[in-house]
């Protein structure tokens, strides 16, 4: 890591800068401080909701009032974010107020769709609403939280509509699109990066909860028939992984029909195929690869954590016996180690010291 003036001078000499070096603004906030502030915001929002529920009970009892007050409160939070973007107290206040407002909007939306709660429509409305907030609200934590909520609401909407297989694939594609285009959309970095994190977290949860929701459904509904094409969800995730790898190879200047490119894609295809029966492997690998390609260690850590979570969570999946799952994991492990051998010896051959270093 170099100092800001040194870095600027390096970039300027490469002809990559425009104008003078901008003033060094607010220091970058580490991710764990943002997580701490986000959790505190949720706690505060819970008590604000309690305040509204007791002090203004009529708001919670009427879907119109709930929706109207929720929207007004979110608009007020937006104004506070805009008016004092660098004030810690006002930003925290606006965050908590907006979270509480979103809960009120959700009450209102569910009130309007009370007769159709089993369908996917209310969740679809909430997904669209949260997606708009993720773009509009000028605060990193808010954007990440809204993108996360949008991803989850979209997954619930798909689940409730019987299209279980769509959510994981679509969110995986959105995650890949966000991180692959982070540099290209550099001017919109303040919007794209938090949305990328929020979508990644929702994707990890969607892939993880697929184990438990499907298993619970099988436990409580003996005649449970998995939605159409239950394998299609993982196929879409595997496709997102393959496309991501292809884009990264293209970016590195590897021609599509060169033997090493094809071998690399075949290795990725084999890993993707293995994760048809062990959900999450392709998704976890995709997050780790995208993180590494962007020089983003937090994202690499999320991908590795996701892989560990999926392998341990796989134990509880009721779709298959432990014997079958053991065979699937054995095949997956063999494929991963074979892919490693292929990378080290055929696709990217190098000296032995490079690997051991």
């Amino acid at each position: 890591m170099s100092s800001a003036p040194e870095l600027w001078s390096k970039l300027a000499s490469a002809g990559l800068t425009a104008g003078d070096m901008p003033e060094i603004g607010e220091a970058h906030t580490p991710w764990y401080v943002r997580v701490m502030l986000g959790i505190a915001g949720l706690i505060a929002a819970g008590f604000l909701l309690g305040f509204v529920g007791i002090g203004f009970a009529f708001v919670m009892q009427s879907r119109n009032a709930s929706l109207a007050v929720g929207l007004m409160v979110i608009a007020a939070a937006y104004a506070v974010f805009r008016a004092a973007p660098r004030s810690d107290f006002t930003s925290m206040f606006a965050l908590a107020v907006s979270f509480a407002g979103q809960a009120l909007v959700a009450f209102g939306v569910f009130g309007f769709f009370a007769r159709h709660l089993t369908g996917g429509l209310p969740f679809a409305v909430i997904a669209v609403f949260q997606a708009v907030l993720a773009v509009v609200m000028p605060n990193f934590i808010h954007r990440a939280a809204s993108a996360y909520a949008a991803g989850l609401a979209f997954a619930y909407a798909c689940d409730a509509s019987g299209a279980h297989f769509v959510a994981a694939g679509v969110v995986a594609a959105a995650v890949a699109a966000a991180w692959l285009n982070e540099a290209r959309l550099g001017k919109l970095h303040a919007v794209v990066t938090p949305i990328g994190y929020g979508l990644t977290l929702s994707f990890m949860q969607i892939e993880g909860s697929a184990f438990f929701i499907h298993s619970l459904a099988m436990m409580f509904r003996p005649r449970f028939v998995p939605g159409a094409w239950p394998w299609a969800g993982e196929a879409f995730v595997a496709a997102a992984l393959i496309v991501s790898v292809w884009v990264l190879l293209k970016r590195a200047g590897w021609p599509l029909f060169a033997p090493r490119t094809l071998l690399a894609l075949i290795a990725v295809l084999a890993v993707g195929a293995a994760s048809f029966k062990a959900p999450g492997i392709a998704g976890g690998l995709m997050i780790a690869l995208l993180g590494f390609s962007n020089g983003n260690r937090v994202l690499v850590g999320l991908g590795i954590a996701a892989l560990l979570f999926y392998v341990s969570g796989y134990y509880y999946l009721l779709d298959a016996t432990l014997l079958v799952k053991s065979g699937v994991l054995m095949a997956t492990g063999a494929v991963l180690l074979a892919a490693r051998w292929l990378v080290l010896n055929v696709v990217m051959p190098g000296s032995k010291e490079q690997v051991d270093a």
Binding site: T17, I304, Q354
Partner: protein, 320 residues
Amino acid sequence: MSDRHSILAWSGQGAITDVQAALDVAGVLPAARDWRVFLDRLLLWSGAVALAAAVVFFIAHNWNDLGRFAKFGLVGLLLIVAVIGYWRLGVDRAAGKASLLVASILLGALLALFGQTYQTGADTWELFANWAVLMAPWVIVGRFAGLWMLWVAVANAAIVLYFQVFPGFFGIVFSTERQLWTLFAFNTAVLLGWELAGRRVSWLDERWAPRLLAIASGATVTLLMIQTIFDWRETSATALIAYPVWVACAYGAYRVLMRDLFVLAGGCLSAIVVVTAFLARHLLNGRAEAGGFLFIAMVVIAMAAASGWWLKQVAREERA
């Protein structure tokens, strides 16, 4: 601020003409050699963990079509192959470390198979305790953080399971408290040992492991404090002393002696949760009034904002 964050921040202000090229010039993006090393590690560790998990799942299935000698032979053979792999590859190579990790997991599978086959009558906590004891020599010679953390996880599982079997003389309520105290004492002792040894031993100088231990230590003492706040008649109230001491020690260790913003942020969150629990217990218990909710919300917001501000100051000092 890292180079990556600086470039992205400048690009947001329109000062960078080609962000991808700028990240490349600054050395933020990985070169072909970095990719090779990363893929080697990623595929090696994920493959090794998948294979070890496959054996554990296989033993857990308790397949009757395969005789006990065949099962013992299979797990024993794989264990020997993993140990030979470690011996041949050596402790300094990633593949050697992965072999030792697989061997350690297979040791647990072998113990589980023994208990499953001979119905020894041993409790589950004994399986994990024996596993931790038998694995310890490998952990010591292995010299890598991941294996130590596996050992810590196995030991934590043994403690949790022990208190499920022996709830103690005072019954279930004190059992939870004793379990939390034991977990707190164990994880804090390991954390302390790690931080002291990490200054002298290079392979222990990885921040992710002590941070996980700090989460385990901090979460248990915070739970003990919350338990004391809500059920002070039912608890020993030792947390009233232990919690402030823990906060003071964490501040001293991670603000004065060394800087670790991660642990400080966790400490701030713990303090916010404890103060919120205290206020909720005394302001809302039996008389839920709107003013009480609003007051607590404002206190949480103020504490979080102050924590955020303070942590940014500490981060700024780090960079200066």
